[in-house]
């Protein structure tokens, strides 16, 4: 069954004084307006969220969102797959066309306002409670181990991480909905950043953001701005790094990418640009290799040559990515689709990737435990 994104919406990612219902409604309203439909036209609703329970003591978010559309009793449920919740929900919507149509996907998350140690623990719930959490392996630490292994094996350097950070911060300055849209990050800022989990330092880490993103998925293109979903795939893997042989790649991402490319009938060479899950700078490098945009160990060469900048051969994260665009966890995978759609429609303004034909989004839960990849094409 064909699938199209017929409307998208997104709040700004970043610290917000607004609660989950407000954020969800803002993204939803924009997506529905964009699609030219109302809530009564929807077939189903899927809400993606990660930490509503631990952070806000609020679960059952699909029903909270149902309260935003009084009297409209849609089929709805909540999806959770850690940081991949958003793309898991998009994948589910694509797979369910034929049963429901159109399907509204809303990703929403609030992360601000919690003591740092509590939030770090809660985000750590994406790792195994016994294998990882009990040993103090928080989230930055998991990716720090990936970084250490990548450095050992391929000679990747902390300078490569800095280049990823600088590039994504530069892109975020062009994106009014980015967490760090108004913050200019320079080499001096990066140099002053404290170590979080060696070798990762402050500016290697994405921020934690509040925000929401929404997409309306349908089997029928509604107008000339409808963006086809050419491939949608998801894979999972054991949750802890200690349960995997290779620590420099996420096999789940690799297999999801292969599956999504096969469904789309493309190869990695056809990709115009990608929105990848750069929760840490090392993750962007691993993502490029898992997506086949670079051979293992060679992503850093492209980073050093500037090929991943907006004007480069394969722009990575023109939105600023998670690193500088922000990471409103449950909303992130949907936000990546928002960016892909906006770019493919040629509506990305200053950060527009010229001639974008094929976009790839890559959303990761935990340290590669869940990976979802989407391939989107230009509207026809």
């Amino acid at each position: 069954m064909p699938a199209f994104v017929i409307g998208v919406g997104k709040t700004r990612f970043g610290p917000s004084g607004h609660d989950i219902p407000y954020l969800a409604q803002e993204a939803m309203a924009e997506a529905l307006t964009d699609a030219g439909i109302g809530v009564a036209d929807l077939g189903a609703l899927i809400v993606a969220n990660f930490l509503g329970g631990p952070n806000e003591h609020q679960l059952h978010l699909n029903s909270v969102v149902a309260g935003l559309m009084p009297g409209v009793r849609l089929p709805s449920w909540r999806v959770e797959a850690a940081c991949a919740s958003g793309a898991a929900a998009i994948h589910q919507a694509v797979a369910l066309l034929g049963t429901y149509d159109p399907i509204l996907v809303i990703g929403v998350e609030r992360l601000s306002g919690l003591p740092g140690a509590v939030l770090t623990r809660n985000i750590g719930m994406a790792g195994d409670v016994v294998l990882d959490q009990a040993q103090g392996l928080n989230f930055p630490a998991s990716y720090a181990l990936v970084a250490q292994r990548h450095m050992q094996r391929y000679g990747t350097t902390t300078r490569d991480f800095e280049l990823v950070s600088l590039k994504n911060h530069a892109n975020a300055q062009l994106n009014p909905k980015a967490h760090f849209h108004l913050k200019r990050v320079t080499q001096a800022d990066i140099d002053a950043g404290a170590t979080v989990a060696s070798p990762l330092r402050l500016f290697d880490c994405c921020p934690v953001s509040d925000g929401a993103a929404a997409a309306v998925i349908s089997a029928t293109a509604s107008d000339g701005r409808s963006v086809p979903v050419l491939g949608s795939a998801i894979r999972s893997d054991a949750i802890s790094l200690s349960q995997r042989e290779d620590h420099t790649t996420f096999p789940a991402a690799r297999e999801a990418a292969e599956d999504a490319y096969r469904k789309a009938g493309i190869s990695s060479a056809d990709v115009s640009f990608a929105e990848v899950h750069d929760c840490f700078t090392i993750a962007e490098i691993v993502a490029m290799e898992d997506l086949g945009l670079a051979e293992p160990g060679y992503a850093t060469g492209m980073v050093r040559d500037g090929q991943t900048a907006i004007g480069g051969s394969v722009p990575i994260n023109p939105s600023g990515g998670l690193k500088a665009g922000g990471h409103a966890i449950g909303a992130t995978g949907v936000g990546q689709v928002y960016e892909a759609v906006t770019q493919l429609r040629g509506e990305a303004g200053q950060r527009q990737v010229a001639g974008a034909e094929i976009a790839v989004t890559h959303n990761v839960g935990g340290v590669g435990g869940t990976c979802a990849v989407h391939v989107l094409g230009r509207p026809s």
């Binding site: 195994d128 294998l131 392996l137 181990l145 060696s198």
Partner: protein, 373 residues
């Protein structure tokens, strides 16, 4: 953590499972072994349960190919060999507990919960049996039948100190008085090996006086747990004048093994917590005596204004007013500061037999919970 491998197909699981998912084969525990460090990261941001930074997380590989994440408190380097224990429960100690009161019960529950064996010594076998039943009752709320049977089987009760001979660690938790504690400590020392860590759970008594009759006071220190020890995260690890470096380090290590946060303190009167707490409790009583506010309001003000989980008067009731007076008298005598002299109202309540929660009345009245059907 349990690491199991399938005897038939070799699949490996880091979970306790009944059989292999892939082929249905039987699973066997893999052996714990030293492991090689593949990668290590120094972590400098605290998270809940891992507040003390920096610490290190190593990704290690065992000779049989199994891997694990291991937290260390010292830097390790790639290529180092370290002990890969999946979780604290894999290091099993035989812990001696002496006494059958509230703290002894709580400590026994904590040890069993963490997978250790307990040799529980008390003067009366009857009291020990009753205490064991209470511990089993509490464990039964968090364990299934098999786990409970296993946990209870790890307790052995004895009246004779000789039963402590095989213990790695012995914690004395008898009545909070100098002479009985001294006598017990000497008798413990007579039966255990010279390396065995002997600790007292005293909340205030001077360690050098407690260890006066010991032949090896260097392996003696204080492990001051807080009630209930299963839930309170702090352990004051008390170093007496003769406690050696190794014993101090061992106490911290053991506290961490139990999932607690050790705070090393010198053996001054009241250590840290009671020394800071008692003037607060006393002042709350004086505030009540002076008619500044009723008990409920004093507690409410302190709770909200100082962000304490519980007001001082309610806390005094929980500790027991007789215990509070005893600690204050002791600290007053040793520090000579009037701030520690128990207020008249405290003494009055104790004289009336109103000792707090345990007698149903103190600063507050406590209605016994209805017997549920």
């Amino acid at each position: 953590m349990s690491t199991q491998a399938c005897a038939a197909c070799g699949a490996r699981y880091d979970y306790a499972l009944a059989s292999c998912t892939l082929c249905g084969g039987a699973l066997a525990e893999t052996e714990a072994a030293d492991a090689e460090v593949l990668a290590v990261t120094e972590i400098t941001v605290p998270s809940l349960g891992h507040e003390e930074v920096p610490y290190w997380c190593a990704l290690v590989r065992k000779p049989d190919g199994g891997q694990a994440i291991v937290k260390t408190e010292r830097p390790v380097a790639v290529g180092d060999t370290i002990a890969a224990r999946g979780s604290v429960a894999e290091v099993v100690h035989t812990v001696g507990i002496v006494g059958s009161g509230v703290m002894a019960r709580g400590l026994t529950e904590l040890m069993l919960n963490q997978g250790h064996r307990v040799v529980w010594v008390g003067r009366s076998l009857e009291r020990l049996e009753a205490a064991r039943a209470k511990v089993a009752d509490r464990l039964g709320r968090v364990m299934d039948e098999d786990e409970l049977t296993d946990a209870v089987s790890r307790i052995s009760l004895a009246q004779d100190m000789g039963a402590l001979a095989a213990c790695d660690i012995v914690i004395e938790a008898v009545v909070e008085e100098l002479e009985p504690k001294r006598a017990v400590l000497e008798r413990i020392e007579a039966v255990v090996s010279p390396e065995t860590l002997i600790a007292t759970n005293t909340s205030s008594l001077p360690l050098d006086e407690l260890s006066a009759g010991m032949r090896h006071p260097e392996r003696f220190g204080g492990l001051h747990f807080f009630n209930p020890p299963t839930r309170m995260r702090l352990v004051e690890t008390v170093r007496g004048p003769r406690t050696n470096e190794q014993t101090a380090a061992l106490m911290s290590q053991f506290a961490r093994l139990l999932g607690k946060v050790p705070v090393p303190v010198a053996a001054g009167p009241g250590f840290v917590v009671n020394r800071v707490l008692m003037p607060l409790l006393n002042e709350a009583v004086r505030t009540l005596e002076d008619g500044i506010a009723p008990a409920e309001d004093i507690d409410e003000a302190v709770r909200l204004g100082l962000n304490h989980p519980m007001g001082p008067l309610a806390l005094a009731d929980l500790i027991g007013l007789d215990v509070v007076v005893k600690i204050m008298d002791d600290l007053h005598g040793r520090l000579g500061d009037e701030a520690y002299a128990p207020r008249p109202m405290l003494r009055q309540l104790v004289a009336e037999g109103k000792l707090g929660r345990k007698t149903g009345e103190g600063f507050y009245e406590y209605v016994p919970p209805p017997v549920s059907g």
